[in-house]
């Protein structure tokens, strides 16, 4: 997701979480041995529909989960294992050795790239605005002086901050721990709009008949891309994040990503989760 990392400047604690030993399997081993050679532990902030979330039966599913399956299990013959972690400390957790990689709908950006290395992009996302069906908001400018909801530490929050600057401070931003709380706030009349990734917003719009996208041309159209119908504040690409000393593994993952794009697996997974 387009979440803007909240990270400790230093990996102050070397404490390793329960999932860490598996995360280190096959790693350089300087933080200790791994229990299983062929497991790759993936840090992810769950739930974040439709990228990673649990079904009512408790099964972990989602776009990231299926991509991980295709890349790690089918291409690289490793067993992917997801570890739930909080997004605002996810990069520190990676660098502390709590898991091997991050797959959490994470947008590639420069600040993050200072602390982690990214794979090739495996997804393109846009920051979008959802409002209630009967809302009077039809354009970005209508948000001036209103209250919007975002998830803490996300690029959606970053887009809201940028918008606030554009409006000379005339925007109130409510920052929620997780995106469902921001959606609840929209339904419960606490915010007039939620700014978040298009895919997650699209799923929300589809699941809930009371909300809609704000439409119009935005960043995607400006960049001449194959622009979606809704208003886009920014264009972002998602990547898998690695520790900076993990280049060889990263290269293998890039090859695997290319392979699943080639053999159609990627498109299959994509169309399973996203209609557009």
């Amino acid at each position: 997701m387009g979440r803007d990392s909240g990270l400790n400047r230093r990996s102050y604690l070397t404490a390793l979480g329960a999932g860490s030993s598996a995360a280190l399997a096959g790693c350089t081993g300087f933080l200790g041995g791994g229990s299983s050679e062929d497991t790759v532990t993936i840090g992810s902030d769950i739930p974040y529909r439709p990228f990673e979330y649990e079904t009512e039966d408790g099964d972990l599913v989602g776009f990231d989960v299926d991509i991980a399956q295709a890349v790690f299990e089918e291409q690289m013959e490793l067993t992917p294992e997801f570890t739930d972690t909080s997004f605002d400390t996810i990069i520190s957790s990676l660098n502390n050795g709590n898991f091997r990689v991050i797959m959490s709908a994470m947008t590639i950006n420069d600040t993050r790239a200072e602390r982690v290395d990214f794979s090739d992009p495996y997804f393109t996302a846009y920051q979008t605005i959802v409002v209630l069906n009967d809302s009077d908001i039809t354009a970005k400018e209508d948000l001036r002086g209103r209250t919007v909801g975002v998830q803490k530490g996300t690029t959606g929050a970053g887009a809201a901050d940028a918008l606030k600057e554009e409006f000379d401070g005339e925007l109130t931003i409510r920052r929620y721990d997780q995106i469902p709380a921001a959606f609840d706030a929209l339904i419960n009349n606490q915010v007039v709009a939620v700014i978040n990734d298009n895919t997650v917003n699209a799923e929300f719009v589809e699941q809930n008949g009371n909300v809609r996208f704000v439409e119009g041309e935005g960043a995607a159209a400006e960049e001449g891309e194959n622009a979606p119908p809704y208003l886009t504040l920014t264009v972002e690409e998602y990547g898998i994040a690695f520790r900076q000393d993990d280049d060889e593994f990263r290269q293998q993952v890039n090859d695997a990503l290319a392979a699943i794009r080639e053999d159609g697996t990627y498109d299959e997974i994509y169309s399973e989760y996203f209609s557009g």
Binding site: D4, S5, G6, L7, N8, R9, R10, Y12, D88, T111, R115, L132, D134, S135, T147, G149, K152, G153, A157, R174, R175, Y176, D177, A181, D184, A185, L186, I187, N188, N189, Q190, N208, N210, V211
Partner: protein, 276 residues
């Protein structure tokens, strides 16, 4: 006589290792070592982790605003929870069964479920009764915070009041009643003033906890102190600079509050606090 003689014949017991003098010096050494470690750690944080420019920069408006939001919530919830707590406490010691039972149920529920749970019920649960976008209170996060803290802490204060009343000897009530006072009069004039004094320490303790409980309000997107730490950390990757402010601001509320409670205790003490 025989006993005395026997005692005289005994060897003087070997002095135990932990005599009073040793205990004194062990205590002193431990506290000095502890202080040195803390001071050293603080120095390390200040010297290596805290960015002085940023420290000055973030106090206004972020932390000042957060501080006053917290202060406002604390003052209102404090007053309401003491009022509520006295009512709950009186219900708890009532001689009428339904009143006592209901007060007991109230206490069991609000002490038996986490405050975080109660906050989520109020903030996300209650507005769900309205159709989407129809919930009438627009800035519900602060009212929800005050309601949650008040309901929760009324239960604890109710228990403190009950303890205070039970510590007043039965004779006080009996004597007052035998003078012809009604139950209400006896409570008001004789028992409660003494019970209040007994309960003050526990109530004061609870109010300090109430201040710290405001950290949970970050879940309701209340722009309080912890959220401010997270936002600054997320934007700057610097954790210690905002943490330092958070520590200062929490203590700036809890330490004067503690002093105030001790002042009230001294004032309520018939000895005028001289024996303390």
């Amino acid at each position: 006589m025989a006993e005395t003689r026997q005692r005289e014949r005994r060897e003087p017991a070997p002095e135990p290792f932990l005599n009073d003098r040793r205990l004194k010096y062990i205590g002193l050494t431990a506290s000095v070592v502890f202080t040195l470690v803390v001071v050293g750690f603080l120095g390390l944080i200040l010297y290596t982790q805290v960015n002085v420019d940023r420290f000055v920069n973030i106090i206004h408006p972020q932390f000042i605003n957060a501080f006053f939001v917290v202060l406002q919530i604390v003052v209102i919830s404090s007053v309401l929870s003491v009022i509520g707590g006295v009512l709950v406490g009186l219900g708890r010691i009532s001689e009428t069964l339904p009143t006592r039972g209901i007060a007991k149920g109230y206490i069991e529920f609000f002490r038996g479920t986490p405050l975080l749970f109660q906050l989520i019920v109020i903030y996300s649960g209650i507005p769900a009764f309205w159709p989407p976008g129809q919930f009438p209170i627009e800035n519900f996060s602060i009212p929800a915070a005050i309601i949650g803290l008040t309901l929760n802490h009324s239960a604890y204060i109710g228990e403190a009041i009950r303890g205070g009343v039970e510590a007043v000897p039965d004779g006080q009530m009996e004597a007052a009643r035998s003078l012809g006072m009604s139950y209400a009069q006896a409570m008001q004039e004789v028992v409660l003033p003494q019970a209040w004094r007994n309960a003050l320490a526990a109530i004061g303790n609870d109010q300090v906890i109430l201040v710290k409980d405001t950290s949970l309000l970050s879940v309701l997107a209340v722009p309080e102190i912890i959220s401010t730490v997270q936002n600054i950390n997320s934007a700057t990757f610097d954790i210690w600079t905002p943490i330092l402010w958070a520590a200062i601001l929490y203590l700036a509320i809890t330490i004067p509050l503690g002093k105030f409670v001790r002042y009230l205790e001294a004032r309520a003490d018939p000895a005028g606090g001289r024996d303390r």
